[in-house]
Subunit: 298 residues, 2 copies
């Protein structure tokens, strides 16, 4: 069997971006993605695709990139290496809906390799509802568990915990949302081949649309009040806080002079901060209580 | 002369908070501050004061704190010390106006000392107009230059440059606003006594109201369009990015389990992010061009 090559992985990610953009335009029903192609002086580039003001999606991005060059100092230091070239490719998605009843969703699948032979996969999908609805959260986690179980009996438990730990807004003592799965440095240890890990990553990428469709379908036409909209903006503020204060990918991108507009496509439209904002309804209170680690949704 | 004591400095800062809050309520004309008193388990506490929905000030905070206890690891490491107790006191202000023609303002004055005898003052004032108006910027810097020149011929030049460097949104290649002054680790070197440095810091604190009144007066009744309001929200987004990604005070506060609601009183109401947002008017374009270092405003 032919060795799995980085070009193959990048090409597959590129077509994943195409598939997902097409499906999202269908699901949204009206808005269209606009594309920016960019390249970086040190090597490689990307296709950033942004969508806005649709009936479903108020602001979102589905980005592909495949970059290469000398490995950034920070990674070399973390790996205790003096120098090596790197190649990194992946797809990143964040979608902010118009309707406060529809959750924010995030997905990332990525592959990293260095000229010294080191390589790994990473990624994850997680959901950030403005209002936590148990049925929606359970269905979302079930999608992820199904895909994980197909590949390894430990994956769901392990990667769900990892997401709980990673998507944690420490300074607020709350999780970003209801979590999902998160994994990194997935390599060919523990008896799994590179192809097997890649098959898992591909399945994660392909579960995005079914998982999101399910999360959207039942709530997208639900009416909302001004209070719901304000609550959404406050919750979006917390999303901003997580991404700018805690998210390692955002930090790494900004630190290494990544393309700012592509990195910050995760930022919401219309966020709001209010000093000591207190929840006004039982559902808002219940939502805050559900923003914690170690809830078994499935 | 009696040694300048930390209690004296803290008390002076506390009355500065009182004076500034009274003056701001007068300038605003309608909104009133609400106070939260808090204490921290390790020692000390503060008085956070928040104001909202005034005709002038949409959201703001004027916070006082005086905290003490074992010095946080991060400071000890930076100073290459193994252990020492610390005491820190100061006043911090951020005001977000309703009217896009009125600038955002920030001030901080602070004192820090350790049980090993190390001490310093720090602080600064800076202005972030949504639209840069040359006359306003010049008058603001003139206020700061006057106060600096009273104390040392080099202070304005040095601290203005420091502000240009500090309030820089690196990932956007723009300054946060038109700057102002910033200083840190002001101690009794270079022939200046502790009392002289303290006199300077007091003058900085007391120039806040005159400098802000001047910046506000000519523009507060200027009418604005929906486009101006959207621009304001986009600029507020950049303010968030600076504070959460780059501001050392915010980072330090969040890292050391400070009171989150007090630290994040700097966050704006109603911010907005739009992918690849382009300036729509000449003034918006001119504003972006003026957001750079080394402009000599006076």
């Amino acid at each position: 069997m032919k060795q799995l090559e980085k070009e193959h992985i990048a090409n597959w990610f590129m077509s994943l971006q195409d598939q997902i953009c097409n499906s999202l335009e269908e699901i949204d029903g009206s808005a269209k993605f606009e594309e920016d192609q960019w390249s970086r002086p040190e090597g490689g580039g990307g296709r950033s695709r942004a969508i806005k003001n649709g009936p479903l999606i108020e602001k979102g991005g589905v980005n592909f990139s495949a970059v290469s060059g000398p490995t950034p100092e920070k990674i070399l230091a973390a790996l205790k290496l003096s120098m090596a070239d790197f190649f990194a490719t992946g797809v990143s998605i964040v979608l902010h809906p118009q309707n406060p009843w529809v959750p924010i969703i995030h997905m990332n699948v990525r592959y990293f390799e260095m000229s010294n032979g080191v390589w790994w996969f990473g990624g994850g999908i997680d959901l950030t509802p403005h209002y936590v609805i148990e049925e929606q959260a359970r269905a979302f986690h079930q999608h992820l568990k199904d895909i994980c179980d197909k590949h390894h009996p430990d994956f769901y438990f392990k990667f769900k915990r990892w997401a709980d730990d990673y998507f944690y807004v420490k300074h607020r003592s709350e999780t970003r949302g209801i979590g999902g799965i998160f994994f990194d440095r997935l390599t060919d240890k523990e008896g799994r081949t590179k192809e097997e890990q890649w098959d898992f990553v591909k399945d994660v990428g392909q579960t995005f649309i079914p998982a999101y469709s399910d999360a959207v379908e039942k709530v997208r036409h639900k009416e909302w009040s001004d209070e719901d909209k304000l609550w959404q903006k406050i919750r979006r503020g917390r999303y901003v806080e997580f991404n700018l204060v805690h998210d390692k990918g955002t930090k790494f991108g900004l630190d290494t002079n990544g393309r700012t507009e592509s990195i910050l496509m995760s930022m919401p439209p219309e966020a709001n901060w209010a000093y000591e904002y207190q929840p006004k309804t039982d559902l808002q209170r219940a939502t805050l209580e559900a923003l914690r680690k170690d809830i078994d949704w499935v």
